[in-house]
């Protein structure tokens, strides 16, 4: 009887087994993840829209996060520091879940970002950080960039005039101040290199062009230029080209690796080196960080980490390879 019963049970089990086998295992973490992301607001304050870096980050973030129901808020200060500060200030009172901040300089937003994290808003600083360290920094290591560019310029100058020029961005911006430190680090090891000009072009191509024109007039034997951003150094390259010195003056710069702004410029000889911090990768890293922060539920400001971007040096050797650069038009699709 007992056996019979067991057998019956076994039969029962056998008969119901195929049905059980078709049911999957419920993954217990994805639902809270979706919940944590749905309807959350990510606010984005670049220094300005309408150029490759900020447009690329914006497109990349939306691509990654919008499918999860994340909402986006954009504030465009249009290169105006004061307007940016106002935008950040008003965002704090609107309380988005995450703020993605692109600092115009290391000081202006620092206190505001501290206040934002105290209010419980995760702050991710992108590429240009501030004096305040927030939940995450995603971006280039400017000192490394400065060092690599200068090393390349110094190498190119070997046996030449050994006169170089530095075209800085906006003086107190992270991308300018820290890159300059990298430049200084290398130059300290090469006392033979003479810096004939080191001026701020405020991220403005026209200004960079004007500065370079003057420098080249006074120093036609210049052997290299360290530029701080390819968007601005289009002007630098143009001045070099106008002076007929393309190929003779080594132009090193850095940028987001967008095809027109970087690879094409390297191919046509405008830049000899463009250190790329690949914007789509940065956008993906930011999106990942946002996903992690939102789903972890950690208190804003309680964890602080950095994600320095691995750099891609773009030269004539790799400028033709399709994966070296990215295309803003494609990213937006």
């Amino acid at each position: 009887m007992m056996k019979c019963g067991l057998a019956a049970l076994g039969l029962l089990a056998a008969s119901s087994a195929p049905a059980l086998a078709q049911k999957g295992l419920d993954e217990p973490f994805q639902a809270p993840f979706r919940e944590a992301l749905a309807g959350k607001v990510v606010a984005y304050v670049p220094v300005s829209m309408n150029f490759d870096l900020t447009e690329g980050w914006w497109a990349g973030l939306k691509k990654e996060l919008e499918p999860y129901g994340v909402k986006f808020e954009l504030r465009d200060p249009n290169w105006n520091t004061n307007a940016g500060a106002q935008a950040v200030t008003s965002l704090i009172s609107e309380k988005p879940a995450v703020m993605v901040i692109h600092n115009p300089d290391v000081q202006t937003y620092a206190k505001l970002l501290q206040r934002a994290e105290n209010e419980g808003i995760y702050v991710i600083q992108i590429n240009m950080g501030s004096a305040y360290r927030s939940s995450a920094f995603v971006g280039a290591n400017w000192i490394e960039i400065g060092e690599k560019q200068t090393e390349a310029v110094v190498k190119a100058c070997e046996g030449k005039s050994e006169k170089i020029a530095v075209v800085q961005g906006a003086l107190s911006a992270a991308a300018s101040a820290y890159t300059l430190k990298g430049v200084e680090n290398v130059l300290a090891k090469h006392p033979e290199i003479k810096v004939v000009a080191s001026q701020a072009a405020d991220w403005d191509a026209a200004k960079a062009k004007a500065i370079t024109q003057t420098v080249l007039k006074q120093n036609p034997d210049l052997c290299g230029i360290v530029g701080f951003w390819d968007g601005m150094d289009i002007g630098t390259a143009a001045a070099v080209k106008e002076a007929g010195l393309t190929g003779k003056v080594f132009v090193a710069t850095s940028g987001g690796g967008e095809r027109k702004g970087a690879c094409d410029q390297v191919k046509n000889g405008g830049f000899d080196l463009d250190m790329s911090y690949d914007v789509p990768t940065q956008a993906a890293q930011m999106a990942g960080t946002i996903k992690w922060l939102l789903s972890s539920g950690v208190k804003a400001g309680s964890v602080k980490g950095s994600e320095y971007t691995s750099l891609v040096p773009i030269t004539k050797d790799n400028a033709d390879i399709a994966t070296t650069c990215w295309n803003l038009g494609d990213l937006k699709k």
Partner: protein, 705 residues
């Protein structure tokens, strides 16, 4: 029924308020305020949390900073200049604050002081160049804009990273940058203090008036002895110092010396200034306008940034609004006076029954005659506009003139004319007091006393402000006629509180009770309004009981009696109404009755028009002023009446060759002296059978029988 409705409507509906409100100086700010309200309303709908406490506090914090620069710019624009260098000065003072704090390590109070001094010095450069060396403001500040900006660029090249590396954290510094008191940001509190002071300065203090005067007309200001150069220079210094204050608060808030600090700020500040209604060119402006302009600009720029507008759109919108505002402002400023003149006159209902007849042969007390046709003429062509005439004990004749003089014709032949006293304004009614001081009502000025030696003193030029009046009725516009009571109170009429001296006939078109009787007490020096709502109160004469006055209401065509003392104190009774003409001055006659001048005779046309306020309104709106249907003020008569309201006698002049218009008459030693406000002569008429020893004010004060 229809008439009753019209009467009701014109009695209770305050038509005249529209014009009065529009004539207020503060309505110049009306357009900007309306724009501000629209912008605020739109943003509060478009942006959630726009009106939340924290959002408002953030706005106030920013408004404070730009507001300080706005105040400075307003000052400079009002004085007739412009300051384009504010953006660069802002950057430099910001640098000054952060350099002294972060690099030199000065204590916060010293930093604040240094920043203000720095701003003032930068402004002083502009001030000296423009004020003392008289360079053009636009070019000069354009140049300092560039120079200061270059200086800033050079300075931050060396020091920006030092400043960027510092993270100043002092309670006092943080209070400046982000602190608040009961939720009001520190900078806004400070702004309110400065703004209140600025308002008092501009409206109540001498330097503010000087600034307004210089902006209005530099040459006239110079000719009036205002230190033009110094005042202008100081305005630029103040602008610099105020910019320094803004720089200090900005430095404390953001602690940055980025290259773009203050770039284009002059456009924002100028936009705010113009939007607020402070006219470029000078002489007009106020603290309120500056504040309103700043708020509009700030709300628009912040609102558009918050609404995700791309940077270019933001500037485009601001520029567009500036353009529209400038256009509206110019049209408004230009047409405001025209609009006011169109709507200011607001006729009301004034129904009079048909007048008693005056025609020859019609009988009655007003029947025309020619008794005045042989009037003698005194001072022909030598005196202008003798509204009232009076004679002293020594028979000298006094009359006012349009030039603001009291003229004296010497007895006995009245051929010698001299200026007895110069007052200014338009002298109207006159009366002697017990001590032979001559009290005169001066149109446009008030009540003045002239001692027998010709010394002029002001008795009063203001009364209590009534709360229901839109126009400021504390000032006396048109003091008209007076008499003096036994205890030294002077009752005088003020014909209108709505028009100036030169516009008085318009009252006849309006026919509203805009006038009042004011009492000035010579014992206490105090003035108060005794009666109001009278239709052009005019002649005043103390009645025989010494406890009441008789007064004429010119466009009410009536004589009334007001008791200021005794058992009937405060009561008003009608003595005569429905006179055939417009009564003017009343004076005592030698037989104890009263003389009354009728300055003009009523016409059926105006009588009808008085019942049709709508018609008169259309007339003043559509017809030029010189074609308006005015009351006839050219030919009238003199009548004698008693306190019972009976007409005893009337004196007419059918042709009016010798003495056309009569506004006043005075009996003296058997003669009647006549005055007329549009005449160039004084008339004298021999009264048959009158007391040859009668001197009005000697009898009045009991000095003679």
């Amino acid at each position: 029924m229809r008439e009753a409705l019209i009467r009701f409507r014109y009695r209770w509906w305050p038509d005249h308020w529209v014009g009065e409100i529009l004539s207020k100086r503060w309505t110049e700010t009306a357009i900007p305020v309306i724009v501000l309200i629209i912008v605020g309303f739109w943003l509060s709908r478009a942006i959630p949390n726009f009106l939340s406490v924290s959002s408002l506090a953030d706005t106030a914090r920013q408004a404070g900073e730009i507001g300080f620069i706005g105040l400075g710019e307003a000052l400079v624009v009002i004085v007739g200049g412009i300051d384009l260098s504010v953006g660069s000065m802002f950057a430099l003072t910001d640098f000054c604050a952060l350099y002294t704090l972060d690099v030199l390590g000065w204590p916060v109070p010293l930093v604040a002081l240094a920043t203000l001094v720095c701003g003032a010095l930068l402004g002083a450069v502009n001030g000296v160049l423009i004020g003392y060396l008289r360079l053009r403001a636009f070019i000069t500040t354009l140049i300092t804009l560039i120079i200061y900006r270059s200086a800033f660029d050079i300075l931050i090249q060396d020091h920006s990273n030092q400043i960027a590396a510092a993270f100043p954290d002092f309670p006092s510094w943080n209070f400046l940058g982000g602190g608040d008191l009961l939720g009001v940001p520190s900078v806004a509190l400070f702004y309110i203090l400065v703004a209140v002071f600025g308002h008092i300065l501009m409206t109540r203090l001498r330097p503010g008036w000087h600034i307004m005067a210089i902006g209005g007309s530099r040459r006239s200001a110079y000719n009036s002895g205002i230190p033009v150069r110094r005042t202008i220079a100081l305005c630029y210094v103040a602008c610099g110092a105020l910019t320094g204050v803004a720089g200090l608060f900005f430095a404390a808030r953001l602690g940055t010396v980025g290259g773009d600090i203050g770039v284009g700020l002059e456009v924002i500040v100028l936009t705010a200034t113009v939007l607020g209604g402070i006219t470029l060119g000078g002489g007009k402006g106020s603290v309120t306008k500056s504040l309103v302009g700043t708020l509009i600009v700030l709300l628009i720029t912040n609102g558009l940034t918050t609404l995700n507008a791309r940077g270019g759109v933001n500037r485009m919108a601001l520029a567009g609004i500036l353009l529209v505002a400038a256009m509206v402002d110019i049209r408004w400023q230009k047409n405001r006076t025209r609009i006011i003149s169109k709507v200011y006159v607001s006729p009301t209902y004034n129904n009079l029954p048909a007048p008693p007849p005056t025609e020859v042969g019609a009988g009655g007390p007003f029947e025309q005659n020619d008794k005045l046709s042989d009037v003698e003429v005194i001072g022909l062509g030598r005196i202008e506009a003798p509204e009232d005439v009076i004679l002293d004990r020594h028979d000298n004749l006094y009359a006012g003139s349009r030039h603001g003089d009291i003229m004296r014709f010497l007895a006995p032949d009245y051929q010698t004319m001299e200026v007895f006293a110069h007052i200014g304004g338009q002298p109207l009614g006159m009366a002697f007091d017990r001590n032979d001081n001559l009290y005169v009502c001066i149109g446009g000025m008030g009540l003045y006393a002239i001692a027998p030696d010709g010394k002029v003193t002001k008795a009063t030029d203001e009364t209590n402000r009534s709360w229901t009046s839109v126009n400021d009725d504390s000032r006396l516009r048109l003091a008209d006629d007076l008499d003096i009571t036994d205890d030294g109170r002077i009752f005088f009429s003020e014909a209108t509180v709505r028009y100036e001296m030169d516009e008085w006939p318009v009252e006849g078109i309006e026919a509203r009770g805009n006038g009042r009787i004011v009492c000035y007490d010579t014992n206490t020096g105090k003035t108060h309004t005794a009666l109001r709502g009278l239709k052009f109160p005019n002649g005043i004469c103390v009645a025989s009981d010494r406890k009441s006055i008789l007064f004429a209401e010119t466009f009410g065509c009536s004589i009334k009696r007001y008791w200021f003392d005794g058992p009937k104190q405060g009561k008003v009774e009608t003595v005569m109404d429905n006179l055939p003409g417009y009564p003017d001055n009343i004076n005592l006659a030698s037989d104890g009755n009263y003389w009354l001048a009728l300055v003009g005779i009523r016409s059926p046309a105006l009588d009808l028009a008085w019942k049709m306020p709508g018609f008169r309104l259309r007339m003043v709106k559509r017809v030029p002023l010189d074609e308006w249907l005015f009351p006839n003020l050219n030919s009238g008569c003199v009548v004698k009446f008693n306190e019972k309201g009976e007409i005893l006698e009337s004196l007419w002049d059918m042709k009016g060759v010798n003495h056309p218009m009569i506004t006043s008459m005075r009996e003296h030693r058997g003669y009647l002296y006549l005055g007329g406000i549009s005449n160039n002569r004084i008339g004298r008429h021999k009264l048959p059978g009158a007391d040859p020893n009668f001197i009005q004010y000697d009898r009045r004060w009991g000095k003679q029988a």
